[in-house]
């Protein structure tokens, strides 16, 4: 539409991600490296799944729309499964790397914990996923026109931006939960992560009924976010302490260095 829509949608889609990056990742070079590696792993998964889809589309019957729709669903499911597989692969790689880093470094403790790695890798996945979802749409939102001349809904840009924001946050939460369940060998929670990812992706088939896809997605964001919060050591008590600004007393009482 114009520059205002471009910036509006960019901030909506990437606002939380930029904020997280600025405040938690940008200071620590090691975290930046792992973030980019995570993004790269997501990219590899996309490449593989798009290769498979490309081949299947070529050998399919291009005229039949039901077959194309079926192929689409197949492509979505395959992509989700491949992304989670690569996430698992990244987890395994990080475990090995951490042992190696520990051996090489002079310090006693690991420079970066698995929890932090989970968060960073999830955010990396989210960044790349958001970029691929949104950049194409943002590029077209700069022009003077808006969607609708062929009868489509006008709210395409806004809803894409909100969806992208949800997906980025979700990837981050999924990363945390995924690594945590791999550490604790809770395979059922791993399955729940994969299923929720599949659910969110399949919800987008509801588009252009954007309400039907965005509202459940945000509910899932909230739920998974809560789960990730509890997985990473949070609790209601901590939350209450923080919100009522009693954390200083708590810290002093517990002699925890900041």
């Amino acid at each position: 539409m114009t520059a205002s829509v471009f910036f509006g949608c960019t901030f909506i889609a990437f606002g939380p991600a930029i904020a997280l990056f600025l405040f938690t990742i940008a200071r620590d070079p090691l975290r930046v490296i792992f973030l980019i590696a995570g993004a790269f792993f997501w990219l590899c998964s996309l490449l593989l799944s798009s290769l498979v889809w490309f081949i299947t589309v070529q050998i399919s019957n291009k005229e039949s729309s039901s077959q194309q729709k079926g192929l689409l669903i197949f492509g979505v499911v395959l992509s989700v499964l491949l992304q989670e597989t690569f996430r698992f692969g990244y987890y395994k790689l990080l475990k090995k790397a951490n042992e190696g880093l520990l051996m090489l470094s002079a310090e006693e403790t690991m420079p970066i914990s698995i929890r932090q790695l989970a968060y960073v890798s999830g955010l990396g996945f989210g960044f790349m996923s958001g970029a691929f979802s949104m950049v194409n749409i943002l590029a077209d939102s700069v022009g003077p026109g808006t969607i609708g001349i062929h009868g489509d809904s006008q709210h395409y840009f806004l809803s894409s931006a909100f969806m992208t924001m949800a997906i980025i946050l979700l990837h981050m939460f999924w990363g945390v939960v995924f690594f945590d369940s791999c550490e604790k060998q809770h395979w059922w929670s791993l399955a729940v992560v994969v299923i929720s990812h599949l659910l969110v992706s399949c919800l987008t088939f509801q588009n252009p009924q954007y309400v039907g896809s965005l509202v459940p997605t945000y509910i899932i964001v909230f739920l998974v976010g809560l789960w990730a919060f509890f997985c990473s050591g949070g609790s209601l008590r901590n939350l209450k302490l923080c919100l009522t600004c009693k954390d200083k007393d708590f810290l002093l009482a517990n002699h925890r260095p900041r």
Partner: protein, 709 residues
């Protein structure tokens, strides 16, 4: 295109905005749509490209710029379909969503409406004119007095005749072609695209019960940014700026090639005055123009004239071989006459400066074929210049030789004190008083109702074919128009022969061929891709745009070797002789004893396909036909502000396109921006809060000592 079909298939899929698949598909679609540049799914949901549009471009002369200009990133406006002149109130003052893009039917494309829009141009983003298939009763965007400053009549020469004081030649002219508009004006055809635009307007832009229409509104964007500004001296100066390795040109002088041929050949390397050589010049003009770029056919304005002259040239071929006349006949076809006589002023300049095969003193007389469509009756008018006729010797020559040459038609001499119509002869008279006649079908004002307009087409000449003919049959069918033009051509040929001092008894044998005339009319006005043109031509390939001056340089490249125009080949075929030379000999005829490139042009033409074979019967044509450059002398001399010569240039541009889409309201856009900024600030605040309190939030009861945050 196959890849485009696949892309559009995928567009349907991608339309769901499906997140995971978007990621998938973006990479795939990018991957194998690399060749198809337009395959961007989101863009296709927003914009509809308009393909059949013709822009109006900018032309400059020594003092002014004319034509249309858009801003560099296109002009966007809310579409408004104008219903009447009173409806102009809406885009110009009442409408709540300026700027507007006004869509006009051609009946509303008048001077008063365009001038009103020009005055309120901050509310008008552009104009789109829908050109119908049927012509309006009359329409001429040219001025009422064509070429009034570069003709022969001025304050020094026939001042009472100058500036159309006695006769207004084009009374229907509204001068729109010579106005300057600072918004783009495009023309659309009456086809599906235009229907789509009107439907979009009806769906979104109609005001219901006087209230403002609701967003989103249907809008159009026109791109036709012209690089040149102000006038020719300015743009030529900017052409010469050499800051970078690839200097960017902003404008090009209008010009192309004149075609001339003669009965007796001239040595192409010997210029200047020729002793004891007396030449009758038969002239016609080749070009025409319209308000929009490159859509002019000039059926009555120019095609009628040069087709007649070509037919006359062909009619004279045999008799001049049998009994050559005493004087030579030179057929001259001038290009660029619309724009202040580019071609004829250049030829006169070349003659004056010894750069042409003959001199002005060699010219015995001039016969020019003007607009000879002969609509009603059988009147042909012989226009001559009253000022030079006052000079007695010239008067007598004109009287005796030229007027007596004509018969068959009812030939009428218009009022003696009437000036010459706009014609190439005026440029010859500017240099030297030469007896001359302009042959035309109008006594005073033009009969042509569509002078220099895009409606001057085959229908204007009443060129109709029976509906059940195939294109090949139409090519051969002799129409009534062709018959009347053939009669004119016969008259012209006989007059020329007599004028050149030929044998009087053979005059009645000269007859023009109606078949050739009708084939030429078909080729120039209906379809140039026909078998006869292909047979005359060097190769099947591009047939240059007729009428408009063939600009060989535009955008960033110049065609190094412009291919010679159609009329060159036609004149060669009609006046030349077929030879037995092979193709290689045809390209290098100087090696043969009797052939000389200096005297003749040798052209290898395709020929026709004989009935029983597929190979064309190609052969070499030898003709005394030449091309000479038709660029205004002002550019040779570097006098870009010249008052004597044509200084017309055409601006360059990068791309010209048009598209329609919906626009959202400003409020929605600002809301989106506001929401975005709010989300950003909120997330910055929350993240800051969380990150500073991280160790409190994410501590658990038993924390292994090795964990570090």
């Amino acid at each position: 295109m196959k890849s485009h079909a696949m892309c559009s298939n995928m567009v349907r899929c991608l339309g769901d905005g499906n997140t995971s698949l978007q990621k998938l598909a973006t990479s795939i679609v990018f991957f194998f749509c690399l060749s198809d540049v337009s395959c961007n799914s989101v863009e296709q949901k927003i914009y509809v490209e308009l393909n059949n549009t013709v822009p109006c471009v900018r032309l400059l002369n020594a003092t002014h710029q004319i034509g249309c200009q858009s801003s560099i990133s296109g002009d966007t406006g809310v579409i408004h379909v104008l219903e009447s002149e009173a409806d102009l109130e809406w885009p110009l003052s009442k409408g709540p969503n300026p700027p507007y893009m006004v869509l006009l039917e051609s009946s509303l494309f008048t001077r008063s409406i365009m001038m009103k829009m020009k005055n309120e141009s901050n509310r008008v983003a552009g104009v789109a004119v829908v050109v119908p298939n049927t012509s309006p009763p009359e329409f001429s965007p040219h001025t009422t007095c064509p070429n009034e400053n570069t003709g022969v009549y001025s304050d020094n020469y026939g001042p009472n005749l100058a500036h159309c004081n006695t006769t207004v030649w084009n009374p229907r002219g509204n001068g729109l072609s010579y106005e300057e508009f600072d918004f783009p004006v495009f023309s659309l055809k009456e086809d599906n695209e235009t229907e789509f635009i009107k439907q979009c307007y009806l769906d979104h832009n109609r005001a219901v019960n006087g209230s403002a229409p609701q967003y989103p509104l249907c809008a159009m964007q026109l791109f036709s940014h012209m690089h040149a500004v102000t006038n020719t001296p300015t743009c030529m100066r900017r052409n010469d700026i050499n800051f970078s390795i690839n200097p960017e040109m902003v404008c090009d002088p209008l010009g192309d090639y004149n075609v001339w041929g003669s009965i007796r050949p001239y040595n192409d390397t010997v210029f200047g005055h020729k002793e004891n050589e007396s030449v009758v010049i038969a002239a016609a003009r080749l070009d025409s123009r319209a308000f929009f770029w490159e859509v002019s056919t000039g059926a009555e304005g120019s095609v009628s004239g040069f087709v007649t002259l070509l037919a006359a040239a062909q009619a004279l071929r045999e008799v001049t071989h049998e009994a050559p006349p005493t004087r030579n006949i030179l057929f001259a076809f001038f290009q660029g006459e619309t724009f202040d006589y580019i071609g004829s002023s250049r030829m006169v300049y070349d003659m004056e400066n010894g750069k042409f095969v003959i001199d002005l003193d060699n010219i015995h007389s001039v016969l020019e074929i003007g607009q000879v469509a002969v609509h009603s009756g059988t009147n042909l008018f012989l226009h001559s210049d009253p000022v030079s006729r006052r000079n007695n010797t010239v008067n007598d020559e004109v009287r005796e030789e030229l007027f007596s040459s004509f018969f068959v038609f009812l030939l009428v001499e218009p009022n003696v004190s009437q000036p010459l119509p706009p014609s190439s002869l005026q440029r010859f008279l500017r240099a030297q008083p030469i007896p001359g006649i302009v042959l035309a079908d109008h006594e005073s004002a033009f009969n042509n109702r569509y002078y220099e307009s895009f409606y001057d087409n085959a229908a204007n000449l009443n060129l109709t074919y029976p509906s059940d003919l195939s294109p090949e049959e139409q090519l051969e069918f002799v129409t009534d128009t062709a018959k009347s033009l053939t009669d004119v051509a016969t008259v012209v040929a006989r007059a020329l022969y007599k004028q050149a001092g030929g044998n009087e008894s053979l005059v009645n044998n000269i007859k023009a061929d109606p078949k050739i005339v009708t084939q030429m009319l078909y080729g120039f006005l209906v379809s140039s891709n026909n078998s006869w043109f292909q047979a005359c031509h060097k190769h099947t390939g591009r047939y240059g745009v007729l009428g408009y001056l063939g600009l060989h340089c535009f955008v960033f490249f110049c065609l190094l070797e412009p291919s010679p125009p159609e009329y060159y080949y036609l004149l060669a075929n009609l006046t030349g002789a077929a030879t037995n030379l092979t193709q290689s000999q045809c390209q290098k005829p100087d090696e043969l004893p009797n052939e000389s490139r200096q005297m003749y042009s040798y052209l290898w033409v395709q020929g026709i396909v004989p009935p029983n074979s597929t190979e064309r019967d190609s052969f070499c044509v030898r003709a005394s036909v030449r091309l000479t450059k038709a660029v205004s002398p002002a550019f040779e001399l570097g006098e870009y502000a010249s008052k004597d010569y044509s200084t017309w240039t055409e601006s360059r541009w990068k791309f010209i396109k048009a598209r329609i889409f919906l626009v959202a309201s400003r409020d929605l856009e600002m809301l989106t921006l506001g929401v975005g900024v709010a989300v950003l600030f909120t997330s910055l605040l929350v993240t800051y809060f969380i990150s500073t309190k991280a160790d409190v939030l994410f501590s658990s009861t038993r924390e292994p000592a090795s964990a570090a945050y």
